[in-house]
């Protein structure tokens, strides 16, 4: 027999109490895992989208990020800038009749010929073919969207009151991008009532990798009314924003977990008081103060560990629930997150055990043995 066996025996002695304590700490840990994993997933998605669809440089209306509106005419000016290889326009559509953020609400108007040149290296055509310049009412569907709505090539869909035929299913390997329809840019302008030359953003590929920053600067200097940002610069902005989200989620869930830790401290203190006489016996048969302290701290550690494992499981489930409810949210559980959450839970258990352990260790054996 060793200390661990005594501890496990003791933890199992009051099953209901142990379970409630574990539930307390595991809810905190679950909150950490679910929230942080969602923010990590968001980050992975956002960073991915920067690199893939936006190309090396994204150009928007000067001073606008979300309401950007440009004329297609500037594409000629941009194409002439030294170091620019390819230019492709995008019109962003949301069919609000389908509900904001619901599957099938988002579409992107692209120039079929330019898009094939621009994206052929980053998309996979899973079924069918890319849209062509003659496809005024043909659409490609992202693979995630196709799964969600069970779309097949050849099938007809309705978007903003118009009928489209699915000509291809594509995958960028990114949840956000794979959740949209891709239609002809002219059709997109027509059905949304925008002017014949309207675009929301223009994407650029540079001739030489590593020159993105430099070319973006050149565009900003030579083309009036636009703002060019390299992917790296955009990712940095996005990362900063996401880092704040991650910190906030940690803070919220840490509060929840600390509440769980207080629960551990409370349970163990009660358990120590209840076992005063037993602790007296341990001391009478030759256990030192630190032996007694050790056994209580191990108990805290075990409670923290079990609560942590349970919490990671619950967090995993919660993450999947949120993922299903909110399309475009991709949870991401990393090994680092698991290790962090477990370390956090174990630390809480041990810290929660310090005072009860100290109290137990310094009991006077004679007084302790007299307890009934």
């Amino acid at each position: 027999m060793d200390m661990l066996e005594i501890v496990l025996n003791n933890v199992l002695r009051r099953k209901a109490r142990t379970f409630l304590t574990l539930l307390g700490i595991s809810l905190g840990v679950a909150a950490i895992v679910a929230l942080v994993s969602l923010s990590l997933g968001l980050e992975a998605n956002a960073l991915d989208i920067m690199g893939k669809v936006t190309g090396d440089i994204t150009i928007m209306q000067e001073g606008q990020m979300f309401m950007s509106s440009l004329s297609e005419n500037v594409m000629g000016d941009i194409q002439r800038v030294n170091g620019v290889k390819l230019v492709a326009p995008t019109v962003l559509l949301t069919d609000l009749s389908k509900g904001f953020n619901n599957p099938g609400a988002e579409a992107r108007g692209v120039n079929p010929d330019l898009e094939e040149l621009f994206s052929s290296s980053s998309w996979d055509i899973i079924d069918g073919r890319p849209i062509r310049s003659g496809d005024t009412h043909g659409a490609m569907a992202g693979s995630v969207l196709a799964d969600q709505l069970n779309l097949k090539v050849g099938q007809s869909i309705e978007y903003m009151g118009e009928k489209f035929r699915i000509v291809g299913i594509l995958s960028f390997g990114n949840t956000l991008l794979d959740q949209a329809y891709y239609i002809h840019i002219n059709t997109a302008r027509e059905i949304s009532g925008r002017s014949y030359d309207h675009v929301n953003m223009i994407r650029v590929k540079v001739s030489k990798p590593g020159t993105e920053e430099e070319v973006a600067k050149r565009i900003n200097l030579t083309v009036p009314g636009v703002e060019a940002r390299s992917s790296a610069a955009m990712s940095e902005q996005v990362s900063e924003f996401l880092a704040i989200i991650e910190k906030v989620t940690w803070a919220i869930s840490a509060v929840a977990a600390i509440v769980g830790g207080v629960g551990i401290a409370n349970t163990m203190l009660m358990s120590v008081i209840e076992r005063t006489k037993e602790i007296g016996v341990f001391k009478a048969v030759g256990w030192s103060n630190s032996d007694v302290m050790k056994i209580i701290l191990i108990e805290g550690l075990i409670l923290g560990l079990l609560g942590g494992i349970l919490g990671i499981g619950l967090g995993y489930v919660a993450m999947f629930l949120v993922k299903d409810l909110v399309p475009g949210f991709a949870g991401k559980i990393t090994l680092v997150l698991i290790v962090e959450a477990l370390t956090f839970a174990i630390s809480l258990g041990v810290i929660g055990g310090i005072y009860p352990a100290y109290r137990a260790a310094h009991l006077n054996p004679v007084t302790a043995l007299k307890m009934e």
Binding site: M1, I6, N9, V281, V285
Partner: protein
């Protein structure tokens, strides 16, 4: 050998000071079988706790094999309890969630004795006290006499030099009490373990080599 000089122990209970022992002198030789008798509150248990290094005196000294227990710190006291002393209590003091053999093993848990060696020794001791069929039974599944025999086995697991028994027969019937006393006496005779028994029972008092009578914290004879 244990030598007690001018030993006093006072407790403070609220504003009242209880003088449990008042200047006792006593010498206990190795291998001796001694009974400490006296009415309730005469200081018997207090004396036993001081002999077993469970408590520290208010004044005076206890020399345990030459070590002055009043002068050493806690780390020496627990080493002494671990290596040289075995306690047997009136209320057995077994851990209710552990079975017989696990209870016997408790003193070995913080030591370097291997698991296999520990189990072997505990099993032998449970056989010695006649509990070979109760090894995996919890205290709640055993009679009082059986529980007390587990407690005796627990007291013996570290091969102590001295057994301190505080009313060991107080919670069992007369017949079982007799069996337990025989068990302890045999240890004293066969293994030379010093045996000190606190008791109310005049019969036990009569069976020992020597009896110390306490009254109001002092030795009367």
């Amino acid at each position: 050998m244990i030598r007690i000089e001018n030993l006093s122990k006072y407790y403070t209970m609220g504003t009242v000071t209880v003088k449990a022992l008042k200047g006792i002198n006593l010498i206990i030789k190795d291998g001796e079988y001694l009974a400490i008798m006296g009415p309730s509150g005469s200081g018997k248990s207090t004396l036993l706790n001081l002999l077993g290094a469970l408590d520290k005196p208010t004044a005076g000294t206890v020399y345990f094999d030459g070590i002055n227990l009043a002068r050493v710190d806690e780390s020496v006291l627990y080493q002494l309890r671990r290596k040289k002393v075995g306690f047997v209590f009136q209320s057995f003091n077994l851990i209710p969630t552990l079975n017989a053999i696990e209870n016997v093993l408790i003193p070995l848990v913080p030591t370097s004795v291997s698991k296999i060696e520990g189990y072997k020794r505990a099993k032998e001791l449970l056989m010695t006290v006649g509990l070979e069929k109760r090894i995996l039974h919890k205290p709640s599944e055993m009679s009082g006499g059986e529980q007390q025999r587990v407690a005796v086995a627990r007291a013996l697991i570290n091969n102590p030099k001295i057994i301190l028994a505080d009313e060991p027969t107080g919670n069992v019937d007369t017949k079982t009490g007799g069996e337990i006393m025989n068990l302890l006496k045999n240890l004293n005779i066969n293994m030379g373990t010093t045996l000190i028994v606190v008791t109310h029972d005049p019969e036990i008092g009569n069976s020992t080599e020597r009896t110390v009578q306490l009254r109001d914290g002092t030795i009367v004879e």
